[in-house]
């Protein structure tokens, strides 16, 4: 099997599985309990916090959540709640993950205002327009680090600098679910106040993620209970999940800079596809996009091509997996100005450090073969 759907989820590292099994077998105590073994469980949490903090440039507070979606919710709704009844203004982009866009829609229902900024043909947000939209009452700007469908990287540092020049009180949130560890992030250096991440996109477990906060950033909790995680995320901590996340961060970091290898895979697959399949083209910027996501439109129906590849043991995705069971066209590609017909033929390949160049060659061969076969069966 060739697995090229790493932006949907990744295979957990063996070390992660072992760390979690050990944790469940031996460190099953509630970190809030008062005896010594409970403190050992608590230390697993702090170790994970430290590992994440280190990867984000230090000086952060890490609030563990059930995943990227909850972290995004906590960032947006938590900042809105911190306005204590006042109505505020929020800015985000048109190509965010539903975890942001649906939460933004909820903010609007609550009476807040939200501006949605468009992107160019490479899916990069228009920074001038974004900065122009900043107002004295703009509470938060939320921009994703890497787009989950086409891999576009957003100019976070520039956005943060210019927004804060205009309104120093505006907070910057970055949805880093598709970026964490694969694209560098230093919250302090880049002026990021809130940062969402998820465990299962970096070979950790599902059901765990975090919202990292700069030292002075403030949000209010959105669920109530026993006051764990600085009162921002009540509920007994998911100790095995968090231990697994911590282990995934350490293991991933030990691989060093994985981007060059994944970029080589991406370039190889793209090149071989473009050479062998007339009519295929890359959505997004091949050279400047993130190394681990490649989106290509084929002259065939994407979903059928996906199943044809599946038949050859190659797994990929149409659009993003989260959006795949909706039948509407991708909002990301639409925002980039891609036509419905081209969206229909789009497939997303997403890589991890374990993928090989041989896998890319095999995938390109299968793609060429099946596109040729299916070309006869486009709807007349």
């Amino acid at each position: 099997m060739i697995y090229l759907d790493n932006s949907a989820t990744t295979r957990p590292f063996n070390e992660v599985i072992e760390a979690m099994a050990m944790c469940m077998r031996e460190e099953y105590f509630n970190p809030s309990s008062l005896y010594a073994p409970a403190m050992r469980a608590g230390r697993l949490l702090s170790a994970a916090r430290e590992a994440i903090d280190q990867q984000l440039g230090g000086g952060t507070r890490v609030i563990f959540t059930s995943g990227g979606t909850e972290a995004d919710n906590l960032a947006l709704l938590g900042v809105a709640r911190n306005l204590r009844g006042r109505k505020g203004h929020f800015i985000t982009t048109k190509v965010e993950h539903p975890a942001i866009l649906e939460t933004a829609a909820e903010l609007e229902r609550q009476g807040h205002e939200v501006s949605y900024i468009g992107v160019d043909e490479n899916c990069v947000v228009d920074v001038d327009t974004l900065v122009e939209a900043v107002r004295p009452d703009t509470a938060l700007v939320s921009v994703m680090q890497v787009n989950n469908e086409v891999g576009a990287q957003m100019p976070i540092e520039e956005i943060s600098r210019r927004v804060k020049e205009k309104n120093p009180r505006t907070l910057i949130h970055v949805d880093g679910v598709q970026g964490f560890l694969r694209v560098p992030m230093s919250m302090r250096k880049m002026g990021v106040d809130l940062y969402s991440l998820s465990g299962h996109k970096i070979h950790g477990p599902k059901g765990v993620g975090a919202l990292a906060m700069a030292g002075n950033a403030r949000v209010q909790c959105i669920a109530f209970g026993g006051g764990q995680e600085e009162g921002l995320r009540s509920g007994t901590e998911n100790v095995p999940g968090i231990a697994g996340l911590g282990q995934a961060v350490r293991s991933y970091a030990r691989l060093g800079d994985t981007a060059p290898h994944m970029m080589a895979c991406k370039q190889r697959l793209a090149q071989r596809v473009l050479d062998s399949i007339p009519g295929a083209h890359v959505n997004g910027d091949l050279a400047h996009g993130a190394a681990h996501i490649l989106n290509i439109t084929f002259p065939a129906k994407g979903e059928v091509l996906l199943h044809a590849l599946e038949g050859a043991g190659i797994l990929c995705s149409t659009g993003s997996a989260c959006a795949s069971h909706k039948k509407s066209a991708s909002h990301v590609l639409t925002a980039m100005g891609v036509s419905d017909r081209e969206i229909d033929g789009a497939l997303r390949f997403s890589f991890c450090p374990e993928n090989t160049l041989e896998e890319m060659d095999e995938t390109a061969t299968q793609l060429a073969k099946n596109v040729e076969l299916l070309r006869k069966f486009v709807r007349r």
Binding site: K301, L306, H307, E310, G311, K327, F377, R379
Partner: protein
């Protein structure tokens, strides 16, 4: 003792010499349905009793969906003694109000009182003890039944069940099961008449996905809750569809595809010892189900094709699907890809001769044979 359930069979009583064949099949199905609940199933003098029931509601729910069961009644069993009978009768009736009548039946003729005398005595006792009740022998709100057999049995409630005939007492048929709303309902209706089901499904990977196939397996499993074990034949249909698409007139694609589906189903049905085909067709619902369309698809089969939904409106079929529990699965959106093979302007008045001409353009025989060789069989248990 209130842990006894009386099960009534409907039409089986109409049967002649082979009545026992039907009753035994019914008992077998009831036993299967209550497996694991710990109750026993007993057949005495043409009546089916379930005893030692711990969870009455659960057992009622299971038994009332067995085809062939007409109605059930939770029964109080007591000694054949007028004092005991009257005591239990009063106990049962005292929480009710309105009108009632007694309906005694004395199967054991050694019992000293005859039916009328039992009615009088029990009625008198109940009236005396429950002043809120009145007698109405013509249209009572409650009918207190007293049966004197090897024991005395009393019951008031009569809970209707699905009816029909025990599955397997009326042969076997092959259901063409798509992922849609109609075909599961059609299968249900025929199974209800005692017919054992086999299913055939056409799978066009990669144009339709694994999920689409899984959905059909799920539907078959839901059907098997009523119809018992189902053998499902999954036919690889991609090659045939592709040939049709490439070589035959576009406007005929759907009807030609339907004809090959019927042909293959007909062959597989013979092999599986089925004596009929079942489809979910209804006149005029889609282009291939016009009168002319149905004639053209019917013409390629040599066994009867049952179309129980033929006169139903779509909304009626949807209500039925809700009732039997297949609707929610049916509306999962998986087969969109198959739209590649649907013509923009399908023929609504096809003629068999024209279609036969088009079919000469492909190697239908070879394609069908390869499709049949590639069949995957899935055995579905309830």
């Amino acid at each position: 003792m209130r842990n006894v359930l009386l099960v009534r069979m409907g039409e089986i009583f109409l049967k002649g010499d082979n009545r026992m064949f039907f009753i035994k099949a019914l008992v077998r199905h009831i036993k299967k349905a209550v497996e694991g609940t710990g109750c026993s199933v007993e057949l005495t003098q043409g009546r089916i009793f379930l005893r030692d029931i711990t969870d009455m509601e659960d057992v009622i729910r299971r038994v009332t969906r067995v085809f062939g069961v007409h109605s059930v009644s939770p029964v109080v069993q007591c000694e054949k003694d007028m004092d005991a009978i009257c005591r239990e009768a009063v106990e049962m009736m005292k929480s009710l109000s309105g009108t009632f009548k007694c309906a005694a039946r004395r199967a054991d003729k050694r019992f000293p009182l005859d039916s009328m005398q039992i009615n009088e005595e029990v009625g008198y006792q109940v009236l005396t003890a429950c002043p809120q009740l009145k007698v109405d022998v013509h249209k009572p709100q409650h009918e207190l039944n007293i049966e004197v057999r090897e024991n005395a049995y009393l019951y008031v409630e009569k809970i209707p069940a699905v009816g029909g005939m025990p599955v397997g007492t009326n042969g076997k048929a092959m259901l063409l099961l798509s992922g849609g709303i109609d075909s599961p309902v059609a299968g249900y209706m025929i199974a209800k008449r005692g017919v054992q089901l086999n299913c055939i499904h056409y799978h066009s990977f990669p144009f339709t996905s694994e999920q689409a196939k899984q959905k059909v397996v799920d539907l078959a499993r839901q059907l098997s809750a009523y119809a018992g074990p189902i053998r499902m034949y999954v036919v690889p249909f991609t090659e045939l569809q592709q040939e049709l698409y490439q070589k035959c007139p576009e406007s005929q694609l759907t009807i030609l595809m339907r004809r090959y589906m019927m042909r293959i189903a007909n062959r597989v049905a013979h092999r599986a010892n089925c004596s009929a085909l079942i489809t979910g067709e209804s006149i005029g619902q889609v282009a291939s189900q016009t009168m002319d369309g149905l004639c053209c698809t019917n013409a390629v089969c040599d066994m009867p094709v049952f179309r129980p939904l033929i006169g139903f409106d779509k909304t009626e079929i949807m209500d039925y699907a809700e009732k039997i529990g297949t609707y929610q699965t049916s509306i999962l959106p998986y087969e969109d890809c198959c739209t590649i093979f649907t013509p923009k302007h399908p023929q609504t008045k096809p003629r068999a001769e024209q279609l036969a001409e088009s079919e000469k353009l492909i190697d239908g025989e070879g394609l069908m044979q390869r499709a049949i060789e590639g069949i995957e069989i899935i055995n579905i248990m309830p």
